[in-house]
């Protein structure tokens, strides 16, 4: 085992992590720890653009942007955070341009802007050109540009180091003095454990799309950061809100940008009917993502799906000029050709909603400080990007706002972490800081476990797709919860065939699966308790939004698994370490349903409303 010491350690080298590193590294001794090489992050898969009210091509201002974000999130957005994001968006874009990002340009040489779903002028009057873009590769350009700047600043990277635990000085659930002391990482190349001490720890590990089977997310997006924090007693906020992007390539989940429908593509069912006319008579195919995804799923469910198994619908571009398609949608048409062998000029493309983005995550305030309950922070612990929940996305994120989120809050996290480190002292590490991780790894690697990682994961993803996807009911969620519990029991007996130390990726997948199971449970328990429909969360048994009861953020706490898996050999990181969850938190909150047999305790947090009172969400 090796020990390293830094002022700031950033976990994750995607957009948010590298943006934070650029701010932290000139101010404090910074290391970025990532289980992938920096440019492998899923930020690079983002296509459309990054919104900012630059007003380069038409009248715009950040207040309109704030309103669109709040409304897009179905009013579950914390409006102070949304204001900050919209206001700082302008500088975020200009910062990137100064770093060299090759934005597309207007004829005058300024950064060009285009329209995007949900972004409007003057509080919903008409679409506005707000998305700054670089062809249909905006995320790729952002990721590359940030990495280039990291090279320029000589930022220190620990590549292919998988952070499996965060070290705190106490239990955040009970100890107000608990603060960050560092992380424990597993080096993929050698199998060695490293304890990285730090005054500030920034989580920027991205999303958890792999809890679902059909997802646009990378194989590596297994919610590591969220689960690591959660296991150490940090709550998770709004995890039941997961965005399903309407147009993923059927069966594969590979994303086809919203820009396709923006350019005039039409969704059709098996009989060729433009079914969106029935669901959203006015704006049809350009309805918000949650509505379109639900409509598509409904067509399939009612037997109007296309294909031999009637399990997808069709995205029709055949009425568009090939030259127009080539100019505006080169990458996504290439995806259709490469992966489905479909020629979009002449054939409709099979599509189906794909799990896309976790609106929830580690709760933070607008300074990106991680909250240990509704109000108090854990000093030295920060989070930004998809792993965090500020919450600027509420219950449904608006297109382009994810790239904005990582830049605005990534920057804030870098500054805040460095500033904190300047005054804080390096916390003493317990001797056995890596003990829990070591035990967990050793038990998986050496144990005689018989359960297969891939099988459990596949079953988890299938049941999540079947029961906790676009449509949810009490029955389906109860079913999936039982499945998860059964799978968790089996996971305790998981084994790997690879006993080696060098690039034991089978072991990594086993650890990732542990995180996925943990998070899937939080998603489902949160969804079961939220008896309303809002944004990305749709309950068929409660199809309306219920502001009376649920204009609140869900806060999920991990209850120590006393009765469940205590003492099991395959027990995972941190289990048993956490003392009492503290039944006192959340005084004055309305009584909520409890779920016996699970390890999740739910609480609720009020939404910050500044100037936009909840209204009916109509487009």
């Amino acid at each position: 085992m090796q020990t390293h010491s830094y002022d700031v350690v950033i976990v994750g080298a995607g957009g948010a992590g590298m943006r934070a590193a650029l701010e932290a590294s000139p101010r404090a001794r910074t290391a970025v720890v990532s289980k992938l090489y920096p440019t492998r992050s899923h930020t690079g898969a983002a296509q459309g653009g990054m919104c900012a009210a630059l007003a380069n091509v038409e009248d715009d201002n950040w207040e309109w942007h704030t309103f669109d974000t709040v409304k897009g999130g179905d009013y579950l957005v914390d409006q102070d955070a949304a204001e900050i994001m919209a206001k700082e968006a302008i500088d975020a874009v200009l910062d990137l341009e100064r770093m060299g990002l090759p934005f597309n340009r207007t004829p005058e040489g300024r950064i060009d802007q285009r329209r995007f779903g949900g972004h409007t002028r003057n509080h919903g009057e008409a679409p506005v050109r707000r998305a700054c873009y670089a062809a249909d590769r905006t995320g790729h350009m952002i990721l590359q540009t940030l990495y280039q700047q990291c090279v320029k600043q000589d930022v220190e990277f620990f590549n292919e180091f998988y952070v499996l635990d965060v070290v705190l000085t106490g239990d955040p659930a009970t100890d107000p003095g608990a603060r960050a002391a560092g992380v424990v990482a597993y080096e993929l190349a050698t199998g060695e454990l490293h304890v990285i001490r730090a005054k500030s720890v920034v989580f920027a590990t991205g999303g958890a799309g792999k809890v679902y089977k059909t997802t646009s997310n990378a194989h590596t997006l297994t919610g590591d950061g969220m689960a690591v924090a959660y296991r150490r007693g940090i709550p998770l906020e709004d995890m039941e809100f997961f965005q399903f992007h309407p147009t993923g390539l059927a069966g594969l989940g590979i994303l086809l940008s919203e820009a396709a429908r923006g350019e005039g593509a039409i969704l059709r069912n098996a009989s060729g009917e433009r079914f969106m006319e029935r669901y959203a008579p006015t704006i049809k195919d350009l309805a918000p993502r949650d509505i379109v995804a639900r409509s598509m799923a409904n067509e399939v469910r009612e037997g109007r799906g296309a294909g031999p198994n009637k399990d997808y619908v069709l995205l029709d571009l055949t009425h568009l000029e090939p030259a127009h398609i080539d100019a505006k949608l080169p990458d996504i048409t290439e995806f259709a050709r490469t992966y489905l062998g479909v020629e979009p000029y002449t054939e409709p493309v099979p599509v189906y909603p794909t799990a896309h983005y976790a609106m929830g995550g580690i709760p933070t305030n607008v300074r990106t400080e991680v909250l240990r309950n509704n109000t108090d922070v854990v000093p030295g612990l920060f989070a930004a990007g998809e792993v965090a929940c500020v919450s600027v996305h509420g219950s449904n994120r608006l297109g382009t706002n994810s790239l904005l989120d990582i830049n605005v809050f990534g920057k804030r996290a870098g500054i805040a972490a460095a500033e904190y480190a300047q005054t804080a002292t390096l916390e003493e590490m317990p001797e056995d800081a890596a003990h829990d991780v070591g035990v967990a790894i050793a038990s998986i690697r050496a144990g005689a476990g018989t359960e297969n990682v891939a099988k459990i994961r596949r079953e988890l993803q299938e049941t999540m797709d079947a029961n906790a996807q676009v449509f949810r009911t009490k029955e389906s969620l109860t079913t999936v919860l039982a499945d998860i519990e059964a799978l968790r029991e089996r996971y305790a007996r998981v084994g790997v065939s690879d006993r080696g130390s060098v690039y034991n990726t089978e072991l990594v997948e086993a650890l990732e699966l542990g995180f996925l199971l943990e998070l899937a449970e939080v998603v489902v328990v949160g969804a079961l308790a939220r008896e309303e429909s809002r944004g990305g969360h749709f309950r068929e048994d409660f199809p309306n939004r219920d502001d009376e009861k649920f204009m609140l953020h869900t806060m999920a706490y991990r209850v120590p698994p006393t009765a469940r898996v205590a003492g099991e050999a395959g027990e995972v990181v941190g289990a048993g370490e956490i003392v009492e969850a503290g039944a006192s938190a959340g005084e004055g909150t309305p009584p909520r349903p409890t779920f016996e047999g699970t390890s999740v305790r739910l609480d609720y947090k009020p939404v910050t409303v500044t100037r936009y009172q909840p209204m009916e969400r109509k487009y």
């Binding site: 099988k455 596949r458 079953e459 049941t463 079913t479 999936v480 499945d483």
Partner: protein, 144 residues
């Protein structure tokens, strides 16, 4: 739907993995790579011939008899065939050299490199078709 653990997906029956000593395969480049390989081989060949050729020509300094003896070995049928190969190598190396120059200096050169490779091959064939009858006639036709 997924309440009971699904039956494990049955993997295809697999024969015991067959193992053999690993050895990396030849990289399967296309025209560009093969033209480079040919250019190298012909280049080295021509250089070695050049050394020999300067040496044999230097025999003119020794005496006319020695030179004529040495140069006489070039006139056997076997050497005649090798000379034909030599000329083919010169032609390919020369025209492929021009192709490389066009790739380096013309903006559109790289895009047409493949076409140009086949042009080079074509030119080599055409020129050899012009040269071979005459040369082989000289070699095998006896001359004086």
């Amino acid at each position: 739907m997924a309440s009971a653990p699904a039956a494990p997906p049955s993997p295809a029956p697999v024969p015991a993995p067959r193992s053999s000593r690993g050895r990396s395969t030849l990289y399967r480049g296309t025209e560009g790579m093969w033209s480079w390989v040919l250019h190298r081989i012909t280049g080295v060949g021509l250089f070695l011939f050049l050394l020999v050729h300067v040496l044999d020509t230097a025999m003119v300094r020794v005496s006319p008899e020695v030179y004529n003896d040495v140069i006489g070995t070039y006139k056997t049928p076997i050497m005649g065939v090798m000379e034909a190969g030599l000329v083919a190598a010169v032609i390919f190396h020369a025209f492929n050299g021009i192709r490389i120059i066009l790739v380096d200096f013309l903006a559109k050169g790289p895009r047409y490199q493949r076409v140009m490779f086949w042009v080079v091959i074509g030119l080599t064939v055409v020129l050899m078709a012009g040269f071979l009858p005459r040369h082989l006639g000289n070699v095998f036709g006896g001359g004086h």
